[in-house]
Symmetry: D3
Subunit: 135 residues, 6 copies
């Protein structure tokens, strides 16, 4: 039976939402306070969900220590205590909305996990706003 194991982690980052092809007025209308040119920030909560078969020898779908190490390598090191727009190449040309951050994280995991695993990313930007990216 396909079973899903989930690992939670947090990172803290600054960001700003805007579309460089638009003028300031349009950006303000669409993104409101999130377009502050001096940036604001969040404590992001990430949940990586990996679906596969339970290995009968270990009782694991995948060792969550492996998932923790991948989260550190792929997300915490490049994102934590950084400015997503300025410090993270993934968002040089991509607006760092929660949707796009989740998509970028999903792609990183897809490149590092075997094809027998399904991956789903849940990303909480605040206690009231979160997204789910199932690939």
């Amino acid at each position: 039976m396909r079973t899903t194991v989930c690992r939670r982690a947090t990172f803290n980052a600054a960001h700003r939402l805007f579309n460089p092809k638009w003028d300031e007025e349009t950006n303000n209308r669409i993104f409101g306070l999130c377009n502050n040119p001096n940036y604001h920030g969040h404590n992001y909560t990430l949940i990586v969900k990996i679906t596969g078969d339970i290995n009968p020898e270990t009782g694991y779908v995948i060792d969550l220590k492996t998932v923790k190490d991948l989260i550190n390598l792929l997300v915490i090191e490049p994102f934590d205590h950084n400015n997503l727009n300025l410090d993270v190449p993934d968002f040089k040309y991509l607006n760092p909305t929660a949707e796009n951050i989740a998509k970028v994280i999903w792609e990183k995991f897809r490149n590092h996990l075997g094809i027998t695993f399904d991956i789903k990313i849940q990303l909480h930007e605040t206690e009231n706003n979160f997204v789910e990216y199932p690939g």
Copy 2:
């Protein structure tokens, strides 16, 4: 790729569970303490989940400010600090169980959102009891 954005909100309401076609003894047997004729109440936590495509111009599936405004219009204003049985027409002839409240909220959102969006409602009645209505 289809992506889901979620918005959380809370409202406080009184309610009572009963079926007017049944006698008091049957209502007490089926609904127990929830059938108290003087009502009891809850802090409901609502999560509205909307699935669609990420707009490449904004990086949004839908602006969560729009979802917040719809939650205020469709749920908070009519339900918050009210008695669901007495003050909310949706429950004049419908027992306000968590299942039915979620279904009513889903129908309100279905009527206000474009057909390209899928909608799922999660409603927490207590920290131990919650329901999911996917339409």
Copy 3:
């Protein structure tokens, strides 16, 4: 050394805030939506904090099973799934604000616990509003 042990519990109740000596307009101005005559409700979270000396034989300040039983007897049975204004004699002439509910609970515990214990009541009405009553 004085040590504090704490026990958490929840109850669900309807209530309405108003002062029967005031006219409706004054009650609406002071209590706003909380004055809805049809009631609204909450999931209350109660934390009972009891301070005393650690018994060297047991390692306990007081057995939390005793505190749990007292919470059930003094609070859950009379308050849970009830209407505080109509069903609970303590609030027949006392406005069931969070402050007054905490005070009533403190007095009940003061009457049931030995004088060597200090008591503090914390009561959460919503996730954003809570009170502390230290006696």
Copy 4:
């Protein structure tokens, strides 16, 4: 419309992860600290999710009181304040990973609920690690 009702509960248990067919070195390499022969423990949080049709007479998919009673009978009584490896027959020959605990709980519910219900088990081992077993 198919609707899901969910009930949360907690239990506290000791356990140890190891494969009796492997030598100590292999067990330590695969299970690390979780292989401590003196056991460690967790506050497990269980969420049982049951999907079915809303009964138009009650407004319930299933009475959550029934689900609560089943959780007590099938999970809390045999697992709570016990050592999963030593005290619970289900894990005499099965490694008590979160995946396997969830699977065992799913099977218990499958045997006790009518076939019209779908069942999904979510089990949190820590605040960072949890699993989902959909059967």
Copy 5:
């Protein structure tokens, strides 16, 4: 009896920790990742605790609606979705550590509340780090 009422709110902001009198190496040694010149950010959770006597007419220590409005005026409007170092005059010459942010908020409330009230500020910077400033 002195009673404490508490109101919770959240705001999202960017910040950077550094002492302009120190060289870069010293700032990096003392503040580590928090000294990123491009800023990082947090979802701050604020709890304002106000202690006073229960007014026998209202049952309130102070109307929490008043506290909510003061939080919006004194904290949310100037801090939320801003860069504490660049956008908030309070931190032009003051390092925006959690301790200093709590102290600034306490002083704002002290200037706006009557002397009969005691004030205590609790500020959570992450789920693991928080401070309490009792004045």
Copy 6:
């Protein structure tokens, strides 16, 4: 002004409550399920609260990185994934109740922090049971 900084951490451990001077019947009567000779376990949540003056150069009472390192050294390394009764010398002759665990942790911190700091330990054994040890 004296300010308090707080750091949260978690550890997972097995334990058993009993008094070796008592017979089995007395231990069962006093400690109930907690006296299971095969042990049970918890996810403990620890909050270390340190009170001192804000250093005007750093804006810190104490660097929370220092507190995090001390928690790892004094608590996580010796307690996490261990059996408190069998693996931790502090509890060889001391019943590992939440009260006593908090006291032991307080004493460890008292020995490692300068006398200008006040220390308070909060320890959560379950979501419903926690203790506070102020020294």
